[in-house]
């Protein structure tokens, strides 16, 4: 069979190694934070975020949040959120136990759990891992999918401001 392709030109495809793109790690190989491994200090005074550091917020596993969460920084959803998340240029991570019923707006969105609604990372990056179940709409500039259960309208939006979809 390969002999029949010997006369191919520059686009010779017989036996050629073609790069597909950067590989995405499987979810099981990614490090995760173990809550029990993080001893919490006793809180004796109001906690202030360290200056210069990105604030981190988490909706923990078993927690249900309903409404709109606005948080410039890193947002981890391990519980359930019905409503919307807006972290601006921050990052939203939906863990395997996380479930979002609504919209998320961020620069970077990583999904390991469930999302039903709009994932809006216009001008940014969306990663849907193999444990993710995503339906609705996905806006992205860079998209990686690794076997996720995906039933969505996909839209490439290179510019966060205008939602441009030009190439």
């Amino acid at each position: 069979m390969s002999d029949s392709y010997d006369d191919l030109d520059d686009h010779d495809a017989a036996g050629v190694a073609v790069p597909l793109g950067p590989s995405q790690p499987v979810a099981q190989d990614l490090p995760v934070l173990q809550a029990e491994a993080l001893p919490l200090p006793a809180v004796t005074s109001p906690v202030t975020a360290p200056s210069g550091a990105q604030a981190l917020s988490t909706v923990g596993q078993g927690m249900l949040f309903t409404g709109t969460a606005v948080h410039p920084g890193l947002f981890t959803l391990a519980g359930e959120l019905k409503g919307s998340i807006d972290v601006g240029d921050g990052q939203v991570t939906i863990t395997e136990s996380g479930r979002l019923e609504g919209d998320a707006h961020a620069r970077t969105i990583a999904v390991f759990g469930h999302s039903h609604g709009t994932l809006d990372a216009a001008g940014g990056r969306v990663s849907l891992h193999d444990t993710a179940v995503v339906s609705g709409k996905v806006r992205y500039a860079h998209l990686q999918v690794n076997g996720a259960d995906l039933n969505a309208q996909l839209e490439r939006a290179l510019d966060a401001g205008t939602g441009s979809t030009s190439h």
């Binding site: 597909l20 950067p22 590989s23 995405q24 076997g147 969505a152 996909l154």
Partner: protein
């Protein structure tokens, strides 16, 4: 791919690589670059698509849409689908006339552009790929939605 049934191996540079070897991939058909085919077409034994394919039909085996390749219309793929080129008419608009149903895994490489409808049990998209339009995951217990034998008048 190194073996027809294994996923693309990650190389040291963390790049997945597809090795196009028609013998190992059991691909016996090829549409060369510059060729345009349209109508109701059936390919048994996979297809290496380097030209343009339109109309309706079926590919039994693996379908590789090469960098120069383009597929437009309604096709079903009874095997894995590797997209290095274009699926759909125009990358800037959703092409509702193009519907690709794949019963294997769809791999969209960083050079791939999809503007048609896709449905498959499993999807891998590499960074840099462009997808515009709906994608639907086929569940194991779910009958493919429009997998009735494609007809020319569709």
């Amino acid at each position: 791919m190194n073996t027809p049934t294994s996923p693309p191996p990650a190389t040291e540079s963390n790049q997945d690589t597809l090795v196009i070897d028609p013998v190992r991939m059991n691909i016996v058909n090829r549409v060369a670059a510059g060729t345009q085919l349209s109508g109701h077409l059936q390919f048994k034994g996979g297809l290496l698509l380097q030209g343009a394919l339109g109309g309706t039909g079926e590919v039994v085996g693996r379908l590789v849409v090469w960098h120069t390749g383009q597929i437009i219309g309604r096709y079903r793929v009874l095997g894995d689908l590797f997209i290095l080129g274009q699926v759909g008419l125009d990358a800037k608009f959703v092409d509702d006339e193009t519907v690709i149903e794949c019963l294997g895994t769809v791999y969209v490489a960083s050079t791939g552009v999809v503007s048609g409808h896709l449905c498959a049990p499993r999807l891998r998209i590499y960074e840099g790929a462009t997808l515009r339009g709906p994608f639907r995951t086929l569940r194991p217990d779910e009958a493919p939605p429009v997998l009735q034998p494609a007809t020319a008048e569709e």
